[in-house]
Symmetry: C2
Subunit: 410 residues, 2 copies
């Protein structure tokens, strides 16, 4: 059973506020303070967030009762006065499960409330073209193993998310509308998942990668565009610290931005889409690597590209430069439209950043002229291809942090 659903969005927006809402928000505020500045005493929290010690005391009691926070022994602070008792996020109890279905692998991980990964599993599987039910059954088995391992560490999974390389509509319902690289179309997870109590919620992998990047390295309320190349090119927009999915969940479809309107025809029917220059297939073709293996196993094409580029292989360098310039053009549009704090190259791009960043920066410098723009605002992701899985697991943790009442009361 999953306690944490899609409810954590604070977009009630126009409903009336109740005392419970107030309590909920203040629980979240206190938990957030403990999460980002622990260890903290009750008095520290009160001083930091602007509540009284009495109120914080009551809120902390509830958080302890719900299993989100623990109280360490007194801290010998060295300062005068009675020492406070240190509060920290629990490293047992509530946890989030992340799952990932890639073209060539399955992944699963569990993070504790602090956001630390505690279990991490990955198995290679050629998932492209296989029946969705078969893939999902294997994912469910991996999930069950992972949860069991987490349970041995004292962790109780409170929510499950599945990262997929495809389109997930905004409405809840567990539908993967399309995942071209897997060959999926209109797959409803609940129809194939063996255990109805553990059906995960699907989400686009690029979106989750962006959130992971934000939770891992972002500044509060930051606005940025996270570009990640998997089989397609996906961008995800994080606006004021929240994922922006667009009106129908299609936001960030960077791969088909028209960078050269009269360029080569794309599979989508248009001409000169970014994917024709910076997509995996285009880069491999251009670099003379067509038809090779895929995936992150031995012979992983991304690793191979990086290897050849590092060795000075000219066609590879030329292909990456061409990709970088096209990406720079597309990102110019993104910067003009969205005015982000930063741009992040994630996924496979993170591993090729050494060769992509210079041409991207050059295009941006030449074309983003009517506003301040610092080259350093473009940076590679620290998480790279681990982002989506981590983001999937962290989503549950962040939902709990945003609304601790999702946890069962003690």
């Amino acid at each position: 059973m999953t306690v944490v659903g899609r409810a954590a969005d604070r977009s009630a927006e126009h409903g009336p506020a109740s005392q419970q809402d107030m309590r909920r928000q203040n629980l979240a505020v206190v938990l957030g303070a403990v999460a980002t500045h622990s260890p903290l005493s009750r008095a520290d929290v009160a001083g930091r967030v602007g509540l009284t010690r009495a109120a914080v005391s009551s809120l902390v009691d509830e958080l302890i009762g719900r299993g989100a926070v623990t109280e360490a022994a007194a801290t010998a602070s060295g300062r005068v006065g009675r020492p406070g008792r240190a509060l920290t996020l629990r490293d047992e109890g509530p946890a989030g499960l992340g799952l990932e279905i890639g073209v060539t692998h399955l992944g699963a991980c569990v993070v504790d409330l602090r956001g630390e990964p505690r279990v991490w599993r990955r198995v290679e599987r050629a998932n492209a073209g296989r029946p969705a039910g078969q893939v999902l059954a294997e994912a469910a088995a991996l999930a069950a193993e992972t949860e069991a391992e987490a349970a041995a560490l004292g962790l109780r999974v409170e929510g499950r998310l599945l990262a997929v390389p495809g389109v997930v509509p905004n409405q809840p319902g567990g539908l993967v509308e399309r995942a071209p690289n897997l060959g999926w179309c209109g797959v409803r997870l609940a129809d194939h998942w063996p255990d109805p109590d553990t059906v995960p919620e699907p989400e686009n992998e690029a979106n989750l990668g962006a959130l992971a990047e934000y939770w891992n390295a972002g500044r509060p309320e930051e606005t940025f565009v996270h570009v990640s190349a998997g089989s397609g090119i996906g961008a995800a927009l994080v606006i004021d610290g929240r994922l922006f999915r667009g009106a129908r969940g299609f936001a960030g479809e960077l791969g088909h931005l028209p960078v050269h309107p009269d360029g080569p025809e794309c599979a989508c029917g248009a001409r000169g889409c970014l994917e024709q220059y910076a997509g995996e297939a285009a880069v491999r073709r251009e670099a003379g690597l067509a038809g090779g293996p895929t995936g992150t196993g031995p012979g992983d094409p991304v690793a191979l590209l990086a290897e050849r580029a590092a060795a000075g292989h000219v066609p590879t360098l030329r292909a990456l430069d061409r990709a970088g310039r096209a990406l720079g053009l597309a990102l110019t549009s993104a910067v003009d439209l969205v005015d982000p704090d930063s741009l992040v190259l994630g996924g496979a791009y993170a591993e090729l950043a050494e060769w992509l960043v210079p041409p991207v920066r050059a295009e941006l410098a030449a074309r983003v002229t009517v506003r301040p723009w610092a080259p350093e605002a473009l940076r590679p992701s620290a998480l790279g291809r681990r982002g989506p899985l981590l983001g999937a697991a962290l989503t549950t943790v962040r939902r709990i942090r945003a609304d601790p009442t999702l946890l069962p009361a003690g």
Copy 2:
């Protein structure tokens, strides 16, 4: 003295919640219900928003005390039971002042709490290149006259916004960072405004036009891109019903999207910017209207273009088609990135929509292929060039609706 500042943003986000916050939100919820569905009785409001009649009664009493709502006589509803007393927004008392400085005119208007324009003034003035102080002094005089006229109608201006064709940074402080078409650079309104008690808050005209469009015709929580051509080409993003200004206030700089990366050089230093195809200067040049008059007076170039196009003037039609196709390319990028519910052609584009919409729709149909996209999602604005001024005035009204405690208690 201005009661309403920039405070109405509900982005406290991570502060603690108090009972006053709860009260504030519930006042806003009740006021919002009255605003969108009036006339409504207290019981109607209670049923609609999910509060009890007792609570609504108390909230309505306070709204009446603050002068936001009035109580009409009993409504002879025809239904059984004691008739409710109809509540409506007041058409006297609190009001918003909008001001506009254009390249060729000054504008001012006052709207009442219902959002109805009650005073509307416009004077032609060649403002380009004149000292900012001089222009602002005239604007202040116009504002004073307009407020006086409003006062005669029983309206009390609670907040003032100034629409400018330029860049306004995110931080409050009344700074217009740059307004190229006026020749302004780093103008701080407070330094030039005669009366320190009535200094307006500047905001970009395209942003205000988009908000006006949203408040006038938008669906709740709608996400759309509002494109408006004035002297430059500005887009404004309304995301889930809120204006998105970007990390530094530069979001929506559509004019310099690279639509043909190797196209003609632009004044900004890059090549093939949208402005080279769909900007006012480019269209006029292409249509053979170079050097003519500007503004909306007699010989208004936009009206002239529309006139010639309607008459079948071939160069004009060709210029508009070229502009439309370039705009379609830029909007393809916007749709791919933002996935809006709709696209709105505002400002001068609204008056040329007849000739622009077909080529824009054609490009979108050809290039937006990987997601559902209905041609009708592109529509002309109903407000056209009146949008920015209306948006400026409505902003204050909307802030009051979002937080009625901004009004002085009765």
